[in-house]
Every structure is written in C-alpha cells, then in structure tokens.
C-alpha cells in the first residue's frame, strides 16, 4: 500500500533510473547530474519558499556551506567523504536555524526576508573568497580518487544514480511533510500568519523547522556538486547563480508542489540545452530562454507547469463528469 502522493515520485524516479539502459551518451549524464543537483537544491528552497511561503533569495548560502564543509573536512582533515556528507548536512541545518532565528524572530517576511538571505549568501561569498581555510580565490580541489568510500565514481551513470537517490529521498521527505500536521501548519503560515496563530500554530517554531530542513537539503546538493566536479570556489559555492536556480526551478515547475522543483529543473535546462544546440555558442542564450520561460509562466500559469496540468485536468474531468 502506497500512501497519498508517492506513486508519481516512484514513477518519475524509475524513469530516470532506467535511462542508462537506453542512453549511453556522457553529455546526457552530465546534463542529468547537474539537473538533479539543482533539483535537490531547489527542493530545499521549495520546502521553505514554496510550501512555507518564505521566499529566499540566498539559498546559495546553504549550497556553499554544504560544499565547503564537505571539501574542507576532506582536504584539510582527511575525514571520510560520507562522514563529511553527514557533517555538511548538519551544518546546513544549523545555518538555517541561525539565519531563521535571526530573521524570523525579528518578524522579517516577504522581500525583507529575501534581502536578508541574499545578504548572508553574499557575506559568505566574500568571506570564502578571502579566507585561508576555503582556499581563498583559488578555491579547493578534491583529490581524484574514485571509489565508493570517497563518494567518487568514474562512471557517470553511477553518479547519476547516486544523485537520483538523494533527489528521491528529498521527494519522499517533502511528500511526507505535505501529508503531515507540520505540512498543514507550514501552509497555514504561508497563507495567513495571524489566522495560523489563532489556531494554535507556533509560527516561529514552524518556520525554524522549515528553514533548517531546507538548509540541510540544499547543503546536500552542495556536497553532490563538489563530489562530482571535485572543485569548488566562492563564486560557485555562494554565487547568485545557484540561488536563482534554486528558486527558478520550483517557480517554473510548480511552487509548493512536491515534484515542482524536479520538473522545473528538467524543463529549464532541457530548453536551455535545446536552444544551445540550435543557436550554437551564443553566450548567455540559455539564460535568455530562462527569462522568457519565467515570464510566460508568471503570466499564464502562475502556479507553474504542474499547477497548469492540474488545472487542465480538473477542467477536463469536470466537463467529462458533468
């Protein structure tokens, strides 16, 4: 017996998991790994921003904290990659708790909260660029040493399956939250804080839980990134690009919906790749496509692709039924 909402998750995961059987192109796996990493980071954003309505513009901070924690532990201290992963996830959760405590306790919402998260991410980027520990502007290189123990895989499909496993876990966790009391509270906070309070929802605690879970998920994405590319610098780790990717994917795919970030990430980057192959190497052409897609979605399907599908399905079924 599968609970509510899990069937689509399992199906989507299976489809992606089976691609190595039919596709053997390395560029496809490169593409899919990147999309999955972004989908994982975006799922973290979706939990806080989509379901909880606290729009962050600085999820790079969690991504970077995850990436740097994993790299520093491995390069400087020789810690095992998997233990580093756990530490990085914990660091992301802790960072979420701290930022959440500082901003939510002060009652920051909406664009003010977004600005504070952006400021934190930028602050960390500047610090990482200057500090010895993070390798300064040169960044950190992980030693190439493929093997399960090091969480490095020379086979791209294997790494894709690892990333997929992470995304699957994040989807299941999100679905579990959506089905739970905590999820209902989170949505209530998004919709109307005062009404939520009146119904006994401890708004601050709910937000803090959400932001630390969110930070943990996005930090895990940062770890995957560094395990795949074996290199990190401040511009990648704390750069604005990942903050934007993390919020664009759920917005396009369907914010607040469990599969939104994954669908959004695939759509955006899929379109980006297609344009690149048509337009050749015009620099920034994929970003222009992102912009057009975003405008179209906001104008015509404000609840994203999944929202649009659901609306059409509702209309169809009500017509068919009546």
């Amino acid at each position: 017996m599968i609970g509510r909402g899990y069937l689509p998750i399992i199906l989507v995961t299976l489809v992606i998991a089976l691609t190595p059987l039919v596709i053997s192109s390395n560029s496809f796996f490169n593409f899919t790994v990147l999309v999955l990493i972004i989908a994982l980071a975006a799922q973290g954003w979706n939990l806080l921003g989509g379901i909880g309505g606290q729009t962050s513009f600085g999820h790079a901070m969690f991504f970077g904290i995850g990436a740097y924690t994993a790299s520093i532990l491995q390069t400087h201290l020789g810690v095992n990659a998997w233990i580093s992963l756990v530490a990085a996830i914990a660091a992301g959760a802790l960072a979420g708790l701290i930022v959440g405590f500082l901003s939510f306790r002060a009652g920051l919402r909406g664009s003010y909260f977004a600005l504070v998260t952006l400021a934190f991410a930028e602050l960390l980027r500047v610090l990482a660029n200057a500090s010895e520990l993070t390798g300064g502007a040169a960044g950190l290189l992980l030693k190439l040493d493929p093997g399960f123990a090091n969480m490095q895989f020379s086979s791209r499909p294997t790494f894709m399956l690892l990333a997929l496993a992470f995304v699957f876990v994040s989807l299941v966790i999100t679905q579990k939250i959506v089905n739970s009391r905590f999820g209902a509270h989170l949505v209530a906070v998004r919709e109307n804080e005062d009404a939520a309070k009146a119904l006994g929802v401890d708004v601050l605690t709910v937000k803090l839980k959400a932001i630390s879970l969110s930070g943990a998920m996005t930090a895990a994405a940062g770890v995957l990134y560094v395990q795949y590319f074996l290199y990190i610098d401040s511009g990648i780790a704390f750069g604005i690009w990942i903050s934007i990717e993390a919020l664009l994917a759920p917005m396009i795919g369907g914010r607040g919906m469990v599969l939104g970030p994954l669908i959004g990430a695939f759509t955006l980057h899929g379109l980006g790749e297609v344009t690149k192959s048509f337009a050749g190497r015009v620099p920034g052409i994929d970003l222009m496509v992102f912009a057009v897609v975003l405008i179209v979605v906001i104008a015509f399907a404000s609840s994203g692709i999944l929202g649009l599908i659901r609306k059409l399905a509702d209309r169809f079924s009500s017509k068919g039924g009546a």
């Binding site: 089905n179 739970s180 009391r181 209902a184 509270h185 949505v187 209530a188 998004r190 919709e191 109307n192 005062d194 009404a195 939520a196 309070k197 009146a198 119904l199 006994g200 929802v201 401890d202 708004v203």
Partner: protein
C-alpha cells in the same frame, strides 16, 4: 472562567481600552457591544494574546495567561474568529478547517475526520471541496466559525460573525451559535446585530471609548441611559424618554 482585570491597551497617546474588566461565566453566551471604535476588537486581541496589554491581567480558570503567546492560548482553550475574515485563501474549506483540527489531533486521518464533523456542525458539509476564496460572505463567516471550533476550544471569541449577513442568513446562523454553546463551549461575542444579542446573550458588557460603561442582561443594558448616550450622543437618553412620554404617555410603550 475567563476574567479580564483592569485591562488597558495604549497605542502611543491613544488609549484604545481603558481599565476594562469583564467576567465570562462557564457555559454562558456573553455579549460585548459598543459603538464603532469603542475598543471591542482591541479587547478581543488582548484576550486572545495578539496584543499585550499595557496594564491589567487576563486569566482563564483562575490561571494568569497574560504573558502567553496566542498559540499557547489556543492550546489552553481560547479560540477566536476575526472580524475581517482571514481564510487560508489558497486552500479548500476542508483543508482550512483541518488546520484547526490539528491542534488536538496529531494524526492526519483524525484531524481530517474532526474537520468533517465540524463542517457538518456549522452547515458547511456541502462546501468541503470548494476553495475558501470562492465562498460567499456568509460561507466565509461560517468557515471562520468552523476553523475556530475545530480547535475544540473551551471559550470561543466571536468577533462580529453576523456582520455583513442578510436577515435570512442571520436567522440561519443563530441556531448554530446556540448549538455550539449547548455542546459545552462558552461564548463571548462582539455583535452589532441587536436582534442576535437580545436573542442569544445572557449577559452583556458595553464598551464605549475604551471604558466599560454598563453590564447586565440585554434588556437592562438597552434601557441604560449611559448606553443610549454612548450610541446616540449626550442628552439623547433624556430626550428619548421625554419624547416617548409625550407621544404615548408612557416611557415603555
């Protein structure tokens, strides 16, 4: 069961509630009336914990709750509705009520079931799948009521749940309020619709310019000269009494 002792709420130089006290007896329907801007809603916000009173104390069953956060007060058994309805607009009616039901039911299936029960009690059972945003004014008022009720409160604070309803809608909802009281929930209501106040309340407090100026049975309060003056202006009680004496030869005709 609920006591407000000498509550004062100041916003800068404005004293919205001035040294007001009230007592709500368990199992009663108590009314709080007063002209517009008297401070009724502010007093409700103080009772529900949304505002911290400048002075004074609130206690529930003798326990001081003045320092408790709103969500803690909900746990203690105080539920409120909002004068300006505050539905979770993106959710449907059932989901809206379920948020309230989660307060005492951690398991989703229990909460969903409880929400259905409450929807039935307030007459929203046909609208469960409707989006909250698509409800009529009367529907939204019922939704406010249902959500608060789903928290299984001991005392329910109703802030003008009848405002904006037409006479037939008011007639429909009055028995609902009475049945809530009969199910064991104490009610404190702010209301302008006098038909409902006379009909439902056993005891009425009158707030004017932040001060409690009268209390008693609805009939007694309505004939209180201080109350008439608060609503209609200084000297009006006397004038009305004189006029009705001239017109009919008796003040009560």
């Amino acid at each position: 069961m609920l006591q407000v002792r000498n509550a004062t709420m100041r916003f800068g130089g404005l004293v919205a509630v001035n040294n007001a006290s009230l007592d709500v007896k368990e199992g009663s329907i108590t009314g709080l009336i007063g002209p517009n801007g008297a401070g009724k809603t502010t007093l409700f916000a103080v009772i529900a914990g949304f505002l911290k009173p400048t002075e004074g104390a609130i206690s529930l069953y003798g326990k001081d709750i003045t320092a408790e956060q709103p969500h803690k007060r909900a746990v203690s058994g105080i539920a409120r509705t909002f004068q300006i309805v505050q539905p979770f607009a993106g959710l449907n009616v059932h989901e809206n009520i379920t948020v309230g039901a989660y307060l005492r039911h951690a398991r989703p299936s229990d909460a969903v079931e409880k929400a259905r029960e409450v929807a039935h009690q307030v007459g929203l059972e046909k609208d469960l799948e409707k989006s909250a945003a698509s409800l009529t004014v009367a529907g939204r008022k019922r939704l406010e009521l249902a959500r608060a009720l789903a928290t299984e409160p001991k005392i329910l604070l109703l802030d003008e749940v009848l405002a904006g309803l037409n006479p037939s809608e008011i007639r429909d909802i009055i028995p609902v309020i009475r049945s809530i009281r009969d199910s064991g929930v104490t009610i404190l209501m702010i209301e302008h619709v006098m038909q409902a106040v006379m009909n439902l309340c056993e005891h009425v407090y009158v707030l004017a310019q932040g001060k409690m100026i009268a209390e008693g049975t609805p009939a007694a309060v309505c004939n209180d000269p201080a109350v008439i003056e608060a609503y209609l202006g200084k000297g009006s009680a006397e004038r009305i009494a004189r006029q009705s004496a001239e017109n009919t030869g008796g003040p009560n005709a």
